[in-house]
């Protein structure tokens, strides 16, 4: 194992106040450490010096919870393909490197503190239709609804999204189309999702617009940054589903509210 001497430029900010980059020297970082463990090490050193450590989001540290969210040298989750920040290891850097560490930047992701941002917009988009309306206890037997392997596998590809927001941070427009298309696409593809397909699509897209995410201009930065390699083809599908739903809606064919029953 060897050690790295690094120069960090880390974004520091308190909510509602302007932020700035702080220069932090990071000597003797073990190359086996993960990026977040490197942050732990510098935080321990800051605490020992009586300074406040850098706040950052993290939880599972195995690339699945989607909580970690750093922009590293301008790239969400850093330089390694298909890798979250927590799975990025320091051996991908060289001694002497200067590393810029920023929060995911988007109008819809306000900074809470330092590298911590509020991604509540993603939850609200899902609340606007990212579900199948089924009561607990009501369903039929699982095998009474055959789903071809190809369809199930494709739905699983979309479902692999961990909701981290790297797609938004990578996009110059801060568009959330990759996230929304994966979430809507999984359910719009499956038979269970058909009855609510139009409502779901309109609901989620309209909420996305309301949250202040930008428009998609087909740059595909999102796909390149996605730690789960979600394909931009889901965006194509969402656009198609949206067009159909919007036309039906324009002609009054989409029921906006469920009726009360006779």
């Amino acid at each position: 194992m060897s050690q790295l001497n690094l120069h960090l430029k880390v974004w520091r900010q308190n909510a509602g106040q302007p932020g700035h980059f702080q220069d932090i020297e990071a000597p003797e970082i073990p190359d086996h450490a993960s990026f977040l463990e490197m942050m732990d090490i510098i935080n321990e050193r800051l605490i020992a010096k009586g300074q406040e450590p850098v706040a950052f989001d993290h939880d599972c540290r195995e690339g699945i919870c989607g909580m970690c969210s750093m922009q590293i040298n301008g790239v969400p989750h850093g330089p390694e393909k298909a890798t979250t920040t927590c799975q990025l290891h320091m051996r991908k850097f060289r001694t002497g490197d200067t590393i810029w560490v920023e929060p995911f930047r988007a109008k819809a992701f306000p900074v809470i503190k330092d590298l911590v941002v509020n991604r509540g917009a993603f939850d609200r988009i899902q609340q606007a239709g990212g579900f199948v309306t089924v009561r607990t206890g009501a369903p039929q037997d699982a095998n009474a609804l055959p789903i071809g392997k190809e369809v199930a596998d494709a739905a699983m590809d979309a479902a692999a999204c961990i909701g981290c927001g790297a797609c938004v941070a990578a996009c110059k427009n801060a568009s959330a189309m990759l996230f929304v298309s994966a979430k809507a696409g999984q359910l719009n593809l499956l038979p269970q999702g058909q009855p609510e397909k139009d409502r779901r699509t309109l609901g989620m897209v309209r909420q996305m617009d309301k949250e202040g995410f930008g428009n998609c201009t087909n740059q595909y930065e999102c796909e390149a940054a996605c730690p789960k390699e979600i394909s931009v083809r889901w965006i194509t599908k969402l656009n198609r589903d949206y067009a159909v739903a919007a036309v039906k809606d324009a002609f009054g064919n989409t029921r906006k509210e469920a009726g009360g029953g006779d």
Binding site: I47, G50, F56, C60, T136, A142
Partner: protein, 638 residues
């Protein structure tokens, strides 16, 4: 204290049906008047919050993460068991029940396990209806695979992300109810205390992790769905935020903590590589199907590259000790054997805590392509973390803490001894005994949340006047004062050591003395050291920053303070249990061949500990385990 487990009478297979018939109902108009507080948003919490809201109750749900979808259930890889018998291989509710009781080394409550097996089939139906993309066969039917401790294929899965997909299903149900106005969600909110009024749980105190505000929430019942305590060991496969705070603070308010010494160690994790290590990563134990586990025979070979150690100088210790199961010996046994090899100075890799998992023979036999098809994602993950190529040199693995079977004591209704306080999922103690089988944690979380609590909670609520307690009650003020004082104490402390340094020290001690193997001398030493450590923590911890803002160090300080208290109970329970069973191995109690030796005559009980005001002197309450269906036997894997 007398413990009433409220197990229904009648034959085992009829108990749950009978209990559902006998359970109270609350009419829809009245349900709206009740507020239920759900703490935690993993499989148990999300599914409970969503289902209770569907039924008409008002629900408030709390999680410390930034979104309910990030709870650590998300990380479960393998699958979820259900007695569907889709494979026509002889599975049944009874067989799942039996396997789970036996897998738990006969230390679980039979009636709860039977109910779990019964509702397992409905869980799968429910998840499919939500749009969970389970693996399918070409004909469109559900696919299954086998898992440890069973001879049938009853595990349902979604690639290696079953936990994520099931949690996203429960989260979508939760979102549906949030949108409908039935659930109010409080993300980035941590529970600091349970508020009891006349002995009943009637609310909680929380800290808003963004603003630092300490707040009160009143309710007619409280559900703790807050997971396990594996992070008492500091290093574990748990997420960094997993903690014992909610259950521990409930314990301090009178809830009994049962069987804390039942902890599960998983054998195939990536070893610790240095002091900076923050967590351990699990690799699926399916790797043991083709990998051979060994260490050098001679300590002199330990530092050498594996390729330079000739075949004759390697000890394939699992194949040697357990010829019929070989490298597929159960989790607890494989873990202990690896520890013994490393204790003998034969461990490989940095720090000497690792054993080889070697694929050379399998690659020679089947070719690298076939091995890559089987385990490619695991080899890639291994390389990402260690920088080593598992095809070219053996992987290094070491056991790590993975799951905790102990938890707050609950009755058949999932209610603790504190009326109104219910405990679901990993946070309770009831279903896995001394050892949990693979693919059973997801099953239990969802069983409790979707199917058990929605029925059983009415048995409590029907006797309550809704909204009888508000946050104006003096008990809330008292609890808020205690929490505020703790925050102030941390921030004003002029200590020298960081929270993490204490957590790491505690973890190392507990892992060493109360980990894979335990003995009286070690536990006694730990019991002496923990209170000393706790004292030092009080006076010498430093917590920078402010109490009125996002402050992750402050969050950690509160959690570690609780681990410091809980760690003592863990060791006390391990010392009290003078037998070996499942994940609890006392070296004094083993057969000559090294197998765990249970003592059914003296220890066939759940140990439910009561807080007395002195952490070193809790009162032991015993719930005798009565086996009506299953015949107690010795587990053997020779």
């Amino acid at each position: 204290m007398s413990l009433n487990s409220n197990i229904p009478s009648g034959p085992m297979a009829m108990k749950w049906s009978k209990h559902k018939q006998d359970s109270k109902l609350i009419n829809p108009k009245n349900k709206r008047k009740f507020t239920i507080l759900v703490v935690g948003s993993g499989l148990a919490g999300s599914s409970a919050a969503a289902t209770l809201s569907e039924l008409g109750y008002k629900v408030k749900c709390f999680c410390f993460q930034d979104s309910p979808r990030r709870a650590h259930s998300i990380a479960a890889q393998g699958g979820i068991n259900a007695a569907k018998n889709y494979q026509n291989d002889g599975d049944s509710v009874h067989r799942l029940f039996y396997d789970t009781v036996k897998g738990g080394d006969f230390r679980a409550r039979e009636s709860n396990v039977h109910r779990l097996a019964e509702v397992s089939v409905s869980i799968i139906d429910q998840c499919v209806a939500q749009g969970v993309p389970f693996a399918r066969e070409y004909g469109g039917m559900m696919a299954n695979r086998s898992f440890g401790g069973a001879q049938v294929s009853r595990t349902f899965y979604a690639r290696g992300q079953t936990g994520q997909q099931l949690l996203l299903g429960a989260y979508s149900a939760l979102n549906k109810e949030i949108a409908a106005g039935g659930v109010q969600m409080f993300p980035r909110t941590e529970m600091l205390d349970v508020v009891t009024v006349d002995g009943h749980a009637k609310g909680i105190v929380t800290r808003d992790l963004v603003t630092g505000k300490i707040e009160s929430h009143a309710g007619d019942a409280v559900l703790l769905c807050t997971g396990g305590y594996g992070n008492v060991f500091y290093l574990s496969t748990n997420a960094m935020g997993c903690n014992v705070t909610a259950t521990w603070r409930a314990h301090r308010k009178g809830a009994l903590f049962a069987n804390p010494c039942y902890t599960q160690i998983h054998p195939t994790c990536i070893p610790v590589s240095g002091e900076y290590q923050s967590k351990l990563t699990l690799m699926s134990e399916s790797l043991r199907n083709d990998g051979r586990i060994w260490v050098p025979k001679n300590a002199a070979d330990v530092g050498k590259p594996a390729a330079q150690i000739p075949e004759a100088d390697r000890d394939y210790f699992l194949e040697r000790k357990y010829p019929s199961f070989g490298n597929l010996a159960p989790r607890d046994i494989s873990s202990r054997a690896a520890k013994e090899a490393c204790d003998a100075g034969l461990g490989v890799g940095p720090g000497g805590r690792g054993v080889y998992l070697d694929f050379a023979e399998a690659i020679g036999q089947f070719g690298q392509k076939t091995i890559a098809e089987r385990y490619g994602n695991l080899f890639a993950m291994y390389e990402k973390i260690t920088g080593e190529n598992g095809y070219k040199q053996p992987m290094r693995i070491y056991p790590a803490v993975h799951y905790t079977m102990g938890g707050l004591w609950v009755d058949y209704n999932l209610m603790s001894n504190l009326p109104g306080l219910h405990v679901l999922g990993e946070a309770n103690f009831s279903d896995h005994g001394a050892n949990r089988l693979g693919a059973s944690a997801l099953m239990q979380g969802l069983a409790d949340g979707y199917f058990v609590i929605p029925t059983t909670i009415a048995n409590y609520l029907v006797h309550q006047k809704p909204g009888s307690v508000t946050t104006e009650h003096p008990e809330f003020k008292k609890a808020v004062e205690v929490c505020t004082a703790q925050t102030k104490q941390f921030l004003n402390n002029k200590g020298k050591r960081s929270v993490d340094s204490f957590h790491r020290e505690l973890g190392l001690l507990v892992w060493d003395k109360c980990g894979m193997a335990r003995d009286k001398a070690g536990l006694t030493e730990a019991l002496k050291r923990i209170p000393e450590m706790r004292e030092e923590f009080k006076t010498n911890v430093v917590v920078p920053g402010s109490g009125n803002a996002c402050n992750p160090e402050l969050e950690k300080a509160g959690r570690v303070a609780d681990f410091m208290e809980f760690g003592e109970l863990l060791c006390l329970d391990a010392l009290n249990r003078e037998e070996s069973c499942g994940g609890h191995f006392r070296t004094e109690h083993q057969y000559p061949d090294g197998e765990a030796k249970r003592d059914d005559e003296n220890f066939s009980y759940a140990a439910a500990w009561e807080y007395t005001g002195d952490f070193s002197k809790p009162t032991l309450n015993k719930e005798p385990l009565i086996f009506e269906e299953v015949h107690l036997a010795v587990r053997s894997y020779k």
